[in-house]
Symmetry: D3
């Protein structure tokens, strides 16, 4: 069960409202790199977690923290929209800079939300829950979580670089810090379970006889006019310790020509296909 306390997790201050930055901040709320995504992803992973109870608690606790991040960002968006014009006649709308409400800003902040945050990204596209990755496999989920936090910290860094508002920079430096930790937190779960080598290949419960292992350790170069790129992926021991990496240059197809033959009568095809 959830509870709420009335203060924000961290102070949110905007020195000079900027409706364009309100639009950019939306990416951190409703973008695929954003906070709705991680809050809901960890929540659904927690609800489906099997095995070590500590992982379930980690997931639920962090989901709960991410809800607080949505809350701070929602407030940051509203503060950046303070004073945005609601009429073409307003002085502010004539100012070529603040005019920005209709150039580079989200018109739906004016039309649809009454100058507050929405669950959409920086293009105004609503977040959709197909981005909640929760497989029931703890290692796959941890990798998905690291990926989410990595793109989240890339985004927060880009927002930090963009703005010159001191309040926003302070707030973003907090989000950057938490994304640093959460990247490491999920990687640390893998460490805690025995380390990367033990967790590979994911799922490590697939019996080796279900796998055509002769195809498991080579890089396939499908480039016709270039040598296979060489690197750690093409030589040395594999990361699961089971084999050695190699590569295949200019591969030949091994399968058949896929032909389906004629269409069946009654299947809606043209007569010429029957």
């Amino acid at each position: 069960m959830f509870h709420h306390s009335s203060k924000l997790q961290y102070p949110v201050r905007v020195d000079k409202p900027d409706p364009q930055f309100a639009m950019l901040l939306q990416q951190a709320i409703g973008g695929v790199e954003g906070e709705i995504r991680v809050a809901m992803q960890y929540f659904f992973q927690a609800m489906g977690a099997r095995g070590d109870d500590r992982i379930r608690d980690l997931l639920m606790s962090t989901a709960t923290e991410e809800l607080a991040h949505i809350e701070m960002l929602g407030h940051a968006v509203a503060l950046n929209l303070e004073g945005a014009p609601v009429s073409y006649q307003e002085e502010s709308a004539k100012d070529p800079v603040i005019n920005a409400i209709l150039g580079g800003a989200n018109p739906r902040h004016l039309l649809s939300s009454g100058l507050s945050a929405m669950p959409v990204n920086a293009n105004g596209v609503p977040f959709d829950m197909s981005h909640i990755y929760a497989t029931g496999n703890i290692a796959a989920d941890m990798q998905a979580n690291v990926a989410a936090e990595a793109s989240g910290r890339v985004l927060a860094s880009r927002l930090y670089n963009w703005t010159d508002d001191k309040g926003m920079k302070d707030f973003l430096s907090f989000l950057i810090a938490r994304d640093t930790y959460h990247q490491q937190q999920w990687l640390a779960v893998i460490e805690d379970m025995g380390g990367l080598q033990a967790s590979l290949p994911i799922p490590n419960s697939t019996p080796q006889e279900h796998e055509a292992t002769e195809h498991s350790y080579y890089f396939l170069n499908t480039l016709l006019d270039k040598e296979a790129p060489q690197g750690r992926w093409s030589e040395g021991p594999s990361l699961d310790g089971r084999s050695n990496f190699s590569f295949k240059q200019q591969p030949e197809p091994q399968g058949q020509v896929p032909t389906l033959g004629k269409a069946r009568p009654g299947s809606g095809a043209q007569k010429e296909q029957l």
Copy 2:
């Protein structure tokens, strides 16, 4: 530029067509764990790749291989739909088992595609390209790719476990093998760039002064009635080697109560809000 050769990458055989399994296989084509996703993800990452050219080649080469996986799965779906009923009157439709065309199978295989594959998942939901993660940050992208291949191999293993068709099992054992390699391939890129520690926190180009580092290394326990779960994430050196992990039990909010005050006249609010 791309080219095509007429044979499949690996043989695809179906011993006993099963329209229900055709539906399940769709997840591997048009699901978020599927092959359209990885093909397009690696393709867009390649088109935006900056820095080491070998990574660009790796991405484009593997994108190209994944297109061949879509092709094999598309054929596998069509083969599983051979003989599926197109009329309620057909003997097959009366058979309580094959009747399955309308129970557990995708009715649009009958209605929309003429008994062949579609770019949809196992619920018939079309794939959408918001799932193509390509950030321009090579480490973030590699993590996203590992996550995609991990969920892909989880899916392929579940499909393998479900079916008892020998042709399909053989084909899936090949996909499982390639997913094994591709997980390792993307992890090996991180190794090749100096290893995990060097790549963290992602992006490692964010100057430390942009980060409120006092918030970067602790687990925040938002659980009211439980101790913080302890593990590798709450103690020992951080994975980037910069600090040590710790945890905060029962955190206090540090920010303000977020209040927005009254609505502006002309903003479409109720009079009571002005």
Copy 3:
């Protein structure tokens, strides 16, 4: 069956074309507050209406009127796009104001529709039919309709406030008026059926023994650091006349800790979860 007459329901005039306002008007066509939504919502409600035939007629008649609103708005968008630049070289594109075609305007009005209306909102996001709420319960549907018309009139008021075009203001004053009526029309249906008290709780056909009525009339305060807000919702008779409102401060969970135990072999989990 439907019919069409060639004139618009109400005159639509644009004194000074404005491609930015064309973009804003799209919200009234393809937004969730817009006319496609209400036209289709009333149409599907009408097709599923059971009980009093007058309600079915009301729904179908109003669906038909809303189609005429789409038609007027579509014309208003096209008129606002008259003279928008189709080339960067055009004088109009160099003018920092009309330049707006690429700042605050919808580039797809240029690229995709040939300077006419599209079934998208003010962000260019296409309307999707998941927003057609039609439950088969007449009271639930009426509430959904009031909500739709309320947000519709909020939107029309914001559009009216924004523009200084006299033609557009006249047209919008008509839409505002019809939204006034339609709000009341759907509320009047509830009156006609015996009033709000009789219709609650929706659905009023659910037998009281299907309901844990000890949980039906209190406000649950999940705020840790604030008293429950007091008001009409926390005291006095309930609006269905069956009980009295109260509130619960600082609620305790009543349920169990939800644990799922170990994963099943063959379910694609990591070995550590089995």
Copy 4:
């Protein structure tokens, strides 16, 4: 900021797991009538609330309760999936009843989530955040909330009617009760602000001179072959107390024939259109 306690808000018990019922329950999680929708809707309304602080607290407190409803439903889904087959060969898969995993159940519970809940509806379609209605107008939002809770209680009643599992019936009777209250809670906010008449038309801040009030109080009958349906909506005082209802039979269009003339050169039209 949010917090979590480890127990569920109300006990969740499943006497006989049923993968089909797991699929049906998904509608209450990820459907438009479901709990993600109300949790997020109240959360975003709270973040944008202006005016009376009590309303903001009501919204945030109830958003927090709805998160706990998602949590209970997520557990209910997982419990209903206990023992669902993961292989065609399992005894359970051969049983014509439990076989249901592939007929009437969600194959992605098997393939994608590892037998746990997903943020999708009963068709497996992911929830998308365009359904979060938050206009910044308190009366419009309250109507949207009543509508959401009305459809939510209709859904919970239908789920109650469907199942014969005593545990599930007990759990659903709790959800039905809370939906009863939440319907009334939002209606009570309107009472608290002065009653329905005072809040109409929404937004009540739109000056009457922005409205073509001669069109604000009649029902327009667009039915060619039927008399206008008569009722509370066509006679008597209007619900805002400003006028009287009437109706118009067989309306004539008042506007012009909308013609756009020729296409512009360079606009991508056919020569015949120029």
Copy 5:
């Protein structure tokens, strides 16, 4: 402006209700081959039509007819759902055939719509308006319309083939007939404008100097291991009468290797990319 008459365009009769067929019929309402699509596509094309007024009238008139098709299909769906079980305990739900409500049928017909039609396809996926193709180019639109009616008639034929209900077969034979006409209607518009040759290439207003015409009339064979398929497309005069068809076997790339160089500082990349 639109009007409605109370009777259906054509009689709709269901002899034996079948909830599975209700699900299949949904494809003709809310599928990409369905009636919402053509109604709205012709409506938006009409609103943007420039040039010959007769085409505008054709489009609007046919849009209006298609609305009547939605209405008939909506009734057909509801009739097929008559008597579908609303409770697991009902006799009908125990019958292994009618049980179908949860296998091959749409559970949301039960849960969400109260046993009536929804604006979704046969997988329960809502129609979205991105499928409304209206380019402002009359020839492009006519081709899109022919394509829509072709897939519509394929679908209606498949539905006809599936069902053995005489009422439904009669109704579908009417839809098949109208689709026959509408295919020809749109092709006849091209004839009316001077025939196919005159309309090509679409748009025929593009000046020939905007086109690298040396690339306009050959088939490019990208198949590595097969000869170019020969046919009308590889020899003989081109269909616009301007040139002759040919083909290129084994094409060489003509462009450069696309490289982007290093990432910019401050762009969120890894240090290794700078």
Copy 6:
């Protein structure tokens, strides 16, 4: 199976980078008129092709070419984003023209992709695979392909008209040329199969007794106040040679009034509907 060669199909040059044009070009990548659509559409049609093998080869070969078009456009987008500002403080961001990054440009090129292409359209809306039309009927598919290439060439012409960059104009003249050919290529398939008349009505395999042919050749005028528009569609022989065109002025409904009667107990309706 697919292969890749490292050079682009045609040279791509940008003389003066323009982030706004990068946004416009996205329509040609991820728009419904774009290259992902045709690449995937031809690919899925090829995988489901039945009958003449040459058609399958045509489809697969052209799908492969279209992948190369995505690749060129992706490079064109990245080149147009060279030098776009990543910080508000940059000189370029202060320049009222380049400032355009936040007005008329895609903020996610900055925030999400690291200044490279994304699989989205010019509004930033991701492409979704529901636009892949592949019916299994070769004539329906060819019409859909002609429509796709027609809208594609309209789009390329509009992009050509917009830009004044010589490199981009040269590149677009190549795309325009290939779209010219592909329109004709798919029409030539119909010629090859015996010509348009033979292919109609699509599907031509539907037996005439499945069709209410008395409704197959008339235009239905639903316009109340206008004569039916006259043209090739209302007189002369039908295009399939089976009949003659005519028209119906002011049609009468032939069907019944659709009424559903009362709701069932237990179906979630209001008592008043039972």
